[in-house]
Symmetry: D2
Subunit: 347 residues, 4 copies
């Protein structure tokens, strides 16, 4: 299978190339980057030297893409994919879009949150939200998958079982307090992501109004069958990779922790990449570093009566490139976990 990676000079692109390096039967035949066009891949990313065909690849401009690959993984900024995708689909290619362009079903919502009109609204209906635990069957048949955002991945997987089981007590607005590593902000020269601004430091950012909010509300409401409210706050951790979301919910009737864990185990029975932790364990972001796993743990807080669900993923792997490869696997008839059963690099 010939794979094209669009927007390959960012961190998600680099992570895609890491994950695609060892796969039998696949070959990355095309890498694009506006900024780095002409540059050799292994000069920009010497870490990839000596692997796969990577010493032979050069970045090219993202032009005349149709026909150059069988599958396209789009890791460009939002706004770019919706311009490129129609011709790729028209040429018969399969597409996994890692940007936000095809995640929201409503073009109005997209315009509202991303500040530009949607360029391909007619494709929104056929785009499948690429969260395999919820939509594997649809993904298998999809030509276009909208790879979920990193925060939504961590939060939706934490809440899906209780929403589906209709255990949520809406008298208490759920809280999702999420903390992310810095790769979530992408590869770029930005003062607020400079080492000296982040190291030995911690802050919330976009404390209200983060763009992943509508995506979470859309998917959570679909799961629940009615409109969900959610208080979501992103924070910036001084680590490279990892999201930990601490989710606070009131459940009615309040289950025992054992029963709640049983519910989660049951919900994720087929899920190769969700690990429901034994009661008492607290997952750590390092447990999933470099992997496609989402680890979940459940707690009951007697002091407040609330339940706490802790969810960890690697924002760059499970929250972006790893999930994209899982979607690529499903869309091309392979097992979801093909090439993805990597242990965490820990410590």
């Amino acid at each position: 299978m010939r794979i094209g990676v669009i927007g390959a000079s960012g961190y998600a692109g680099l992570e895609l190339l890491r994950l695609l390096a060892g796969r039998s039967g696949d070959e990355v035949v095309l890498i694009t980057s506006r900024q780095e066009a002409g540059q050799k891949l292994t000069e920009l990313f010497p870490a990839l030297a000596g692997l796969a065909n990577y010493d032979q690849l050069r970045f090219v401009e993202p032009a005349a893409l149709a026909g150059q690959a069988d599958v396209f993984l789009l890791a460009a900024q939002h706004g770019a994919a919706m311009v490129l995708v129609p011709e790729l689909l028209a040429a018969g290619a399969k597409v996994v879009d890692l940007s936000a362009d095809f995640r929201l079903r409503s073009p109005e919502e997209f315009a509202l949150w991303y500040g530009l009109p949607h360029a391909a609204p007619e494709l929104l209906a056929q785009a499948v939200y690429g969260l395999p635990e919820l939509y594997a069957e649809k993904i298998k048949k999809a030509a276009l998958t909208a790879n979920p955002g990193c925060y939504p991945t961590s939060v939706i997987l934490a809440l899906a079982p209780v929403l589906k089981a209709r255990l949520l007590d809406p008298s208490q607005v759920p809280v999702a307090d999420a903390k992310s590593g810095v790769t979530g902000a992408g590869r770029g020269a930005v003062l607020s992501n400079a080492f000296c601004e982040v190291q030995d430091n911690f802050k919330s950012y976009k404390t209200v109004g983060h763009r992943h909010t509508p995506e979470m509300l859309q998917e959570l409401s679909t799961l629940w069958g009615q409109q969900v409210k959610l208080a979501f706050t992103p924070h910036l951790l001084p680590i490279n990779r990892g999201i930990l979301a601490t989710v606070y919910v009131k459940l009615a009737p309040p289950p025992s922790l054992e029963a709640l864990r049983g519910l989660f185990l049951d919900f994720y029975r087929e899920a190769r990449f969700v690990r429901v932790r034994p009661l008492g364990q607290s997952p750590e972001t390092a447990d999933v570093r470099g992997t496609n796993f989402c680890d979940l743990a459940l707690f009951h807080d007697r002091a407040s009566g609330l339940f706490k669900i802790v969810s960890v993923i690697d924002n760059l792997c499970r929250g972006a490139a790893g999930q994209a490869v899982a979607n690529l696997n499903l869309m091309t008839g392979r097992p979801e976990e093909h090439g993805l059963l990597l242990p965490a690099v820990r410590p």
Copy 2:
């Protein structure tokens, strides 16, 4: 004034010595440590060499303390202070206890959470909770101050104005999602605090049932005049110093953000060490690194209807040693900020 630091070989002890190094009129005459008795201070902590009288000090066993100093700062483990304090007070000394021994007014609560009976329950009534923003006048007259815990300091200062103003809507249990640097765990050889277990990693710990819970509930309920519920979760940040607490509350009637900020400014009008941030700013732990400040910021989340209050302190300074020195200042007739107006070391 002759100062004795009990339990001086831990991080809180080291921080006390940092803050006491440059003060005119004061002298540290006694430093104790069971582990390091006999050792020269500047051999254990070469960073203190060449400052004040520190090259002359040696750690001694904590025995026959009464009379050796005018003021004692106790930075020992919980359980130690309640044994030492009666004789110190009897000898006329003033005491600031940085441990948990005198924070809870109920000896039963203490026994429940700390697993040992209280050795000096008769002193609990006279011990003043050493949060200057709430109790400055009492602290000025106190012989024994119970220095607040680090998490409670950050959470209580975030919630005090809304509780006092009776704005809290109890239909929504408040959530305090707190993240702390590793110095909060003390100076010790513990695998879970080893560099390779913490660096490039993030986790919650004691996800339910952390010992600072009763202290927060006690003080918040006192402020509100009725029993507060609170969902509190501590997390471990890969940084040395700093706590950031993200507090989620429902307010009724919901004030405008400007009005809420006005309320905070008013509440903290006299508070030298609380900085209510301009609307829109997000405080960062590095802004208060090495200082006694608590920075607060206020947000209204339209998506959920909740308000978010972000609070940052340096857990080792404001959350321990700095607050102790502020209490020492007040107890000995000096301005709270004497020797404490240090700018953050940033970056």
Copy 3:
């Protein structure tokens, strides 16, 4: 092939299990740990849950090992392997020892540097120093391989080509200034490796007399054919993994940089895991994080007349577990790189 990992509860053991997780044809059938005997592997290391047969494994005491596996990887402290190895070899097993026990050819040197007499001096002659770039042919036939130390791996690979080519000018003592991540110190509760002692900090340690010194001198002198002098200093980096060694040498006659690079390329022509960087590039430890690569770069310093050779490896992978797996591959008739062509997890 049945593989036993002895001393599996340390970081080198964890790294071995990471690298052995995905291998077809191999199975880890035995993991030992004195400290963790009885404990389930995935309770101690939840990061390994859901991979290979790891959910079924429990640590056992390291007793009656012979016959339980075909190949043994020994990741115990020095002093342990030399007691266990004789019976394993006698039972026909192959052994890769990651400790220092079989690296020095002289039992007297061993006793001098490690402070205990060698328990199996008769095996020293048959143990092969497991640096595949130098000794691949011997390793293929070996029953016992002494896996090199992390610092020696980085320094020997930097100097081997110039020593072999007899370019070293001994009028200038070579300097190897090396900096290592903290995993090199192992998994243990030690104050000097506590997060707060290492984070945002840097120091040299064992500034003179580090135990890897005799190993380097032995191998470098063998390469050169005469006794090498070397000034070696280890430093502790606030990172988990990685060694960077900056090596300063005087070369006579001084080659052009291009010629020197040609010499290196030639020397490492067959070496799958040495990447000689294009002139001008500076390798970074993150380029090899989680991999078995050693990246080398060459510089000529006009200000001093010296040449600088910069060498980076992952101390835990190439400097320990990865190299052990490469040796296991060679000893069992497989290509050196079998299962080891992993791209770095970067960032």
Copy 4:
């Protein structure tokens, strides 16, 4: 005294403002920044809110400076100071320049290394190299002080005693392997200093030809009375502040370590900010974090015959702003240590 800080929006500027915050008798009356002109100081740097007169200050363009202050601290990029200084001196102000503009005595050397002609070569003769341990008497009388570079400060203080004592054996080129925190690169949006490029990573940079080379050679040669050779390599540490230089020298005749330490103690007898460590101690960058100290330790390496001198400073404080304040102190008739006896913030 009215103080003006030119280039106040960078990290050196921020550090100057930290150090100048608590000084009696001094007031910062002017802060300039081309980028931030018009901006309130405490909006850019909220960490400074509530301190000194800082809530009242705004950045202004660096124009018509003469007469606005009595002393100017110039923390601008190299090339800017040499344009501004003549008029400031002409107006009778005293100037400490933190840039490289007045460090090299030869305008040709300056042009060679910095790529632009010197704009005020006539001032080079009167500029004093602001290393108080070497030039305190000259600094006291100077109108213009050239504040040393961070690397040169660490290396010159390590070598000065042996050069002055003529102990250096020139048959071995000295090596200065230096490692610096990231603040040394300044406050700017540069990809190579982005968090994800530096965190959990380590590299050399400008491995040959760093611009601090001529400054070191100039001062070391002056101390020695003849031309010094030096192999110098800078590296980038994943920490905010701190330089550690490991210096390798051959001494003839080789002194005992005790004698060498005696020589250093004697050389630095009057130096308030140099701490020669007891034999056996290894200084750590955290020991001097936020301070003006330079800690030195001495080692004799039997394996190579060389001596190792380890030197640590805080590159931003001692290597820039702290040293500038020490020079300001000396130039204005105050003790060098006025306002600078700060203990390290550790951990």
